[in-house]
Amino acid sequence: MSAVLRRLAATMALPALLVVAWWWTSDASTNFYLPPLRQILAAFADVWIGDRFATDVLPSLARLAAGYLIAAVVAISAGVVIGQSRVVRGIAEPGLEFLRAIPPPVLIPILILFAGIGDQMKIIVIAVGAVWPILLNTVEGVRAVDQVLIDTARSYRISGLSRLRHLTLPAAGPQIFAGLRQALSIAIILMVISEMFAAREGLGFAIIQFQRTFAIPEMWSGTILLGLLGFVLATLFRMVERRVLFWYFGQRAAARDH
């Protein structure tokens, strides 16, 4: 137990220090745009604990989840197909690199034309941004499956769906998860941006509203909430990754110990 506590203390030490430093240095602040941390935390309690959580944060999280999952399903499926064939890769890669370079926020006005200003548009924005790291990492993961494993599967005549399930996807797993992790960060950013232009509710919308109405402590509190959200999601992600890729971490640990 004490090892866990020690690790917790080590992880929390630097953030705690930074918070204390922030509190200290901002306590006497009279700058309108940089209020004391005390005020920000008071605003945090007022604003986010209560109704607003359900009316703003949850819808945003729901859209984030939808966009992210759509991106994951599309990207992994396409990635597997593209990764397995050198010909398809050659044809697809230039186009993919081109599309990937377009920043999703730039596409928002176009998407508003096609998808309106509702949830659909926001989910599409998130998905369009999140799809690229997952897709490209999946292609790479599938392409780089160990030839010895491929030969073994071939010699035992393991093919089709069985091969996908038992060889291709697990082998590409670590690379796919790397892509999923990058996509998570991008998705959170796009969740906020998608609510900047045409929205009626949401975490990003609330923060922008506060900014536009000069409710600065509230704006800062929203920013802190966003950071906490990112941290929680990243931690959850890491927990899932540890479970799914237990074999990968185990293998690496075993190799290290030799």
């Binding site: 160990d146 010895v148 494993l149 030969d151 073994t152 071939r154 010699s155 035992y156 005549r157 393991i158 069985s162 038992h166 060889l167 697990p170 797993g173 074999w247 990968y248 185990g250 293998q251 075993a254 190799a255």
Partner: protein
Amino acid sequence: MLEVEHLRKIYDGHGRSVEALRDLTFRVGAGELVCLVGPSGCGKTTLLKCVSGLLAPTSGRVVLEGMPVSGAPANMAVVLQEYGRSLFPWMSVSANVELPLKQKKLPRARRREMVGRALDAVGLADAGAAYPWQLSGGMQQRVAIARAIAYEPHILLMDEPFAAVDAQTRAELEDLVRRIWAGFAMTILFVTHDIDEAVYLGQRVVILSSSPTVVQEDLAVDLPAERDQLTTRAQPRFTELRGHVYEQIQKAKAAAPPSSGVS
């Protein structure tokens, strides 16, 4: 059981054309344990890939039980040298051994039974729940062998399976192969670069020349059927045979053009 007829393989690429195998002809009868040995770079792995259907020959053919081989045949199992990389690390040992059986669409109870028997035969009855990366090299190779046995192939190909294993483990595994061959009445084609191993294991030793490869000699090993590491290797006949094979290989190496390093 297995007939290799005038097998020829030329690798074309990058402006170079390398004739790895020129003309290989030999056969393996049902129930035999035949060893293939040759100088380094003589195309043993190319040969094995052609025989196992993973590589198409340039000309000539491989016939398994009367049917020409194109693509991996159903009645053959292969044990590779890189045991660490041939086992699926995301599956337990039992799951690894069971996977090819799932392809054969056998009912679960039967599969479990076969997995148990195979792991027992290689001495890993307790390791079913472990993962490959938790095992030592020798144990991983045993799992690969168990996987091949559980598949109940008509012929088992082994491509230098003990090359990357330490000498003591290699001795144990050699005896394991002999036991399996006798206990399961298998046909085994065993490729090795280790002359002692080839003579110790085989009923026949097919000696390959250097690249471009042909069969240099097909030698019958008239050692007793009961073999063990201590006494068999001390027999004068063993030394004679071993010496003969060694000579042949030296001759093969001397006759070769500068090695093109194809394997």
